[in-house]
C-alpha cells in the first residue's frame, strides 16, 4: 500500500515566500507532502472546497481580509482541518487570539535554514496527532436534536417522523415551536422525551400537517434541554440516587465519590444547570462553603458564598442548548473549542487519560468548564464575602 500522502496548504500574500516554502517543504517531506499555495483568501477557500486539505498554514497579516476573521471563518467552516498560523511579527495578545480562534500552533516565519527545518518538523509532528471525536466538530453527525434545533431556529413548520424497530412517532413543529409529539399511546412532553432518548432509528422530514392535538406549549430550548437531561439521567442511574438533578453535574459526583471533600448542598440557584454549577463550586471548595447544618455560632467569621454569574451549555457542534446570563455565547463557545483542542494536545504521550474539565481559580471568582462527549458546560461563579457564624 502506498504511504499516505499529506496535503498542506500555505496561504500568504508574499509570492516569494510561497515559492520558497513550497520547494523546501516538498524537499523536507521527501515528496510525501503535496504542498499547495494560495496568495489570497479567496484562492484558499476555492482550494479548500475542491481538495481535501490536511493542514492549513496561514499568514494572518493579509490584505483585504482580517486574518483573525479569516481564521475564525475557516475554523467554523472546516473544523477538521488542522490550522497553523505563521507570521513574521505578532504580539502575545494576537497570538492568544489566534489560538482562541482555532489555530493549533502559532509559529514564526523562518529566517534561517535551521528555521525552515524546525518549521517542517513542527508541522510534521502536528500531523502525527490523529484527530479524534470531540468538541472541535470532528464528529458532526446530524441527529434528531440537531434537526429540531435547526427547524426551531429557522422558525420552520414541519413534521419529523421517527421510526425504530419498536416505535413510530412524530414531532410537530409549527413556526419554530414544538407543538405536539406522539409515540405509541403517549403524547405531549412524555412522548417528546421518549423520542429524544432513542439511541437509534431513522427519521423522516415531512411537510407540516395539522396534528391531532396540541399537547406541547413550552419553549423549544427548554424542551430540548430537558430531553437531554432526562436522557443523561437514564444513562447514569447514580445521578438519580444522589439527588443530582442535572446531567451536567457529573464533575461534582466524581469529586464527591473520590472523597476530595465532603459534599456540601448547593445554595439556591436560578436554574437546574446553575444548581449543578453550584455543586461544582461547593464540592471543590469546601473551606469556602460552610456546612448548612453547622454548630451554633461562636463568633462571626468571613466566608465567601458562591454566586452563579453565568452558565452556558452547548452541543459538540457548538449549538447553544442552554444559557443563563451569558453575554457573549460565541466567545464562550470559542473558548470551549479551544479547550477541547488544547486539552487533547496536552495529553499526547502522557498516561493521563481523557480530559474531563478545567477549573480556573481566582481570588474572587472561578470558572469551571467541563467537556462531555456530547456537550460542554461553562459556569462562572463569583464569591461574595459574607459574614457568617461558625
Amino acid at each position: 500500500m502506498p504511504p499516505k500522502r499529506t496535503t498542506v496548504l500555505f496561504v500568504d500574500d508574499d509570492a516569494g515566500f510561497l515559492d520558497v516554502v513550497q520547494k523546501l517543504m516538498q524537499a523536507f517531506s521527501e515528496g510525501s507532502w503535496d504542498v499547495l499555495t494560495a496568495p489570497a483568501a479567496a484562492h484558499a477557500l476555492a482550494l479548500l472546497r475542491d481538495r481535501k486539505i490536511d493542514l492549513l498554514v496561514i499568514d494572518v497579516h493579509m490584505p483585504v481580509i482580517d486574518g483573525l476573521q479569516f481564521l475564525g471563518l475557516l475554523h467554523r467552516k472546516y473544523p477538521n482541518v488542522v490550522k497553523v498560523v505563521l507570521t513574521g511579527d505578532a504580539t502575545e495578545q494576537y497570538r492568544a487570539a489566534c489560538l482562541s480562534n482555532g489555530a493549533e500552533l502559532f509559529l514564526e516565519k523562518p529566517v534561517s535554514q535551521k528555521g525552515w527545518q524546525d518549521l517542517f518538523n513542527a508541522l510534521d509532528e502536528l500531523l502525527k496527532f490523529q484527530p479524534e471525536e470531540g468538541f472541535r466538530g470532528v464528529l458532526r453527525r446530524v441527529g434528531l436534536q440537531d434537526v429540531l434545533q435547526m427547524e426551531c431556529l429557522a422558525r420552520s413548520s414541519s413534521v419529523l417522523e421517527i421510526v425504530t424497530e419498536e416505535f413510530r412517532g412524530s414531532v410537530f413543529v409549527q413556526d419554530g415551536q414544538i407543538i405536539h409529539a406522539e409515540v405509541g399511546e403517549q403524547s405531549g412532553e412524555a412522548a417528546f422525551n421518549q423520542l429524544l432518548s432513542l439511541s437509534g432509528g431513522e427519521f423522516n422530514h415531512k411537510p407540516f400537517s395539522e396534528p391531532p392535538a396540541r399537547t406541547i406549549s413550552g419553549s423549544w430550548e427548554f424542551l430540548l434541554m430537558e430531553a437531554a437531561r432526562k436522557r443523561d439521567e437514564a444513562k447514569d442511574p447514580v445521578l438519580d440516587q444522589t439527588g443530582a438533578d442535572s446531567g451536567v453535574s457529573t464533575a461534582a459526583q466524581v469529586e464527591a465519590d473520590q472523597g476530595d471533600s465532603p459534599f456540601a448542598p448547593p445554595p439556591p440557584s436560578p436554574g437546574v444547570a446553575a444548581a449543578s454549577a453550584a455543586e461544582l463550586e461547593a464540592v471543590s471548595e469546601p473551606e469556602l462553603v460552610p456546612a448548612l447544618e453547622a454548630a451554633p455560632p461562636q463568633r462571626p467569621v468571613q466566608t465567601r458564598r458562591p454566586k452563579i454569574d453565568e452558565v452556558l451549555i452547548c452541543s459538540t457542534q457548538g449549538d447553544v442548548l442552554y444559557e443563563w446570563q451569558c453575554a457573549d455565547a460565541n466567545a464562550r463557545i470559542r473558548f470551549l473549542q479551544f479547550l477541547s483542542q488544547k486539552s487533547w494536545q496536552l495529553r499526547q504521550g502522557l498516561p493521563i487519560g481523557q480530559f474531563q474539565r478545567l477549573e480556573i481559580e481566582g481570588a474572587l471568582n472561578r470558572v469551571v468548564t467541563q467537556l462531555d462527549p456530547d456537550r460542554a458546560l461553562f459556569v462562572r461563579v463569583s464569591r461574595t464575602p459574607v459574614e457568617t457564624s461558625s
Binding site: 502575545e92 495578545q93 497570538r95 492568544a96 487570539a97 489560538l99 482562541s100 502559532f106 464533575a251 469529586e255 473520590q258 472523597g259 476530595d260 471533600s261 466567545a331 473558548f335 479551544f338 479547550l339 488544547k342 486539552s343 494536545q345 496536552l346 495529553r347 499526547q348 504521550g349 502522557l350 498516561p351 493521563i352 487519560g353 481523557q354 480530559f355 474531563q356 474539565r357 478545567l358 477549573e359 480556573i360 481559580e361 481566582g362 481570588a363 474572587l364 471568582n365 472561578r366 470558572v367
Partner: protein
C-alpha cells in the same frame, strides 16, 4: 531569573504525590523534572507549552488566573502563570488522597510571588 526559578523548582516542588513538574519561560524554553518513568521530559515540555498557550487565551477572555487545574481521567495538572509570562505546572495522580492539595496551592502562590511575580 531562569536559574533562580530552576533552583526553586528543584528545591521546592518535590512534594508528596507530585509525579512531574516544570516551568516554561517566556523565551519558550523549559525546565522539567519527572519522578515517574511514564512522564517523559519531551512530552512534559509539550504539555507545558499547551498549558502556557491556555493561559494566554484565559487572559484575553478576562478569566481569573491565579491558578488552573486541568482534570484528566487519571491525573490532575496544576498550573500557575506569573505576570512575566513564566508558567509552572505539576502533575499529580487523580486521587485526592495521594497528595496534599493545600500544599500545592501554597506552592503555586509562592511561585507567583517569587521575585516580584504577580
Amino acid at each position: 531569573m531562569k536559574e533562580f526559578l530552576q533552583q526553586w523548582v528543584s528545591g521546592r516542588a518535590r512534594l508528596p504525590g507530585v509525579l512531574a513538574c516544570g516551568v516554561r519561560f517566556s523565551d519558550k524554553t523549559s525546565f522539567t523534572q519527572s519522578w515517574s518513568p511514564d512522564f517523559s521530559v519531551q512530552n512534559l515540555d509539550h504539555a507545558w507549552r499547551c498549558a502556557s498557550d491556555a493561559f494566554q487565551v484565559l487572559k484575553i477572555n478576562f478569566f481569573p488566573s491565579e491558578y488552573v487545574r486541568w482534570v484528566y481521567e487519571k491525573a490532575f495538572l496544576y498550573c500557575a502563570r506569573r505576570e512575566d509570562g513564566v508558567c509552572f505546572g505539576l502533575f499529580t495522580a487523580n486521587d485526592p488522597q495521594s497528595y496534599d492539595r493545600a500544599a500545592i496551592e501554597r506552592l503555586l502562590a509562592e511561585f507567583r510571588a517569587l521575585g516580584g511575580g504577580a
